[in-house]
């Protein structure tokens, strides 16, 4: 089995990890209730998408 020959330096490890970046979630406002919501996903506040109602989409602040 192929194994690393040398211990990876802290510098190399850290420079690799420095490129793991989070990106902010794109948000739009719901046309029905003006709450922020992700595009192409039913509104987590009122559950509407494209004029239709999806109760399954509704989330309280305790559910992610």
């Amino acid at each position: 089995m192929a194994v690393p020959k040398r211990k990876m330096s802290r510098s190399n490890t850290r420079s690799r990890r420095a490129n793991w970046k989070a990106t902010p979630t794109t948000l739009t406002t719901c046309p029905r209730c003006n709450a922020p919501r992700q595009p192409h996903i039913a509104c987590p506040n009122c559950g509407t998408y494209n004029g239709r109602q999806y109760a399954e989409a509704e989330r309280t602040e305790h559910q992610a």
């Binding site: 046309p31 039913a42 998408y49 494209n50 999806y54 399954e56 989409a57």
Partner: protein, 240 residues
């Protein structure tokens, strides 16, 4: 080499995958709508639509082919007796997937997949009506080019030319000018007296106090909301 199945694999093996998909199809035909993960919903859609096509055919051979996937005779009966007649007018697109955000716990993206059982006519009729109204308005605008007086001369000339060729169904990239509207100026500012922005592709208009007014690039300008309504535009955000 056969074309590989589109979408992600589900389950622990081919037999497990067939079982999962047939169970999902059975649940969908029993309940009309089910909540599942996006990946499973996307795999279920082509299978369910194919089964509905069999159900629309309605003969014994078709029923037996559906029974090979959906083992539940009650679900198959419901599919052939209740669901298939509702789909008679529809040419495909029998199911609809709506994303509903991630699940708590494993953060899996979830979706609702549902049978589209509402009649086809209502919405399609309004769309056709709107298209006809736009065409009529375009013809009126061509008949009375003085309507677009505040516009600059070259734009008006181009619009008139396009209105002339629209009879020949030419694929003009720009849209015809509705009645009571002024075309957009090159610098994006409002023509004198025109305050309401119109979006040509979405057929929505935006009033100055609207939510999306600032971010909207106006293809048309209207003097008032009534003018925009008369030209076949609807108020932005007033979908339901």
């Amino acid at each position: 080499m056969p074309t590989p199945t589109k979408g992600p694999r589900v389950g622990g093996g081919p037999a497990h995958e067939r079982l999962i998909l047939s169970n999902l199809a059975t649940a969908l035909f029993e309940n009309d709508r089910i909540t599942t993960t996006e990946a499973k919903a996307k795999r279920l859609r082509p299978l369910a639509e194919r089964l509905i096509t069999f159900a629309k055919r309605g003969d014994l051979a078709a029923r037996r082919r559906v029974l090979a996937v959906v083992r539940d005779k009650g679900a198959v009966h419901r599919l052939f007796a209740e669901i298939a007649p509702d789909m008679a007018q529809r040419e495909g697109g029998y199911t609809r997937i709506t994303k509903i955000g991630a699940r708590k716990g494993d953060n899996a993206p979830m979706a609702v997949i549902e049978l589209v059982r509402e009649p086809l006519s209502a919405k399609k009729a309004t769309v056709k009506e709107a298209e006809a109204a736009t065409k009529r308005a375009a013809k009126d605008a061509a008949a009375a080019p003085a309507e677009a007086a505040p516009a600059e001369e070259p734009t008006a000339a181009v619009e008139a030319d396009e209105a002339a060729v629209s009879d020949a169904q030419a694929d003009a990239p720009a849209v015809d000018l509705p009645e009571g509207a002024a075309p957009a100026t090159t610098d994006g500012s409002a023509p004198e007296g025109y305050t309401v922005k119109g979006n040509a592709s979405s057929k929505l208009y935006h009033e100055p106090d609207g939510q999306w007014y600032d971010q909207t690039v106006a293809e048309f300008w209207f003097k008032s909301a009534e003018d925009a309504e008369a030209a076949g535009f609807t108020k932005a955000g007033a979908k339901d």
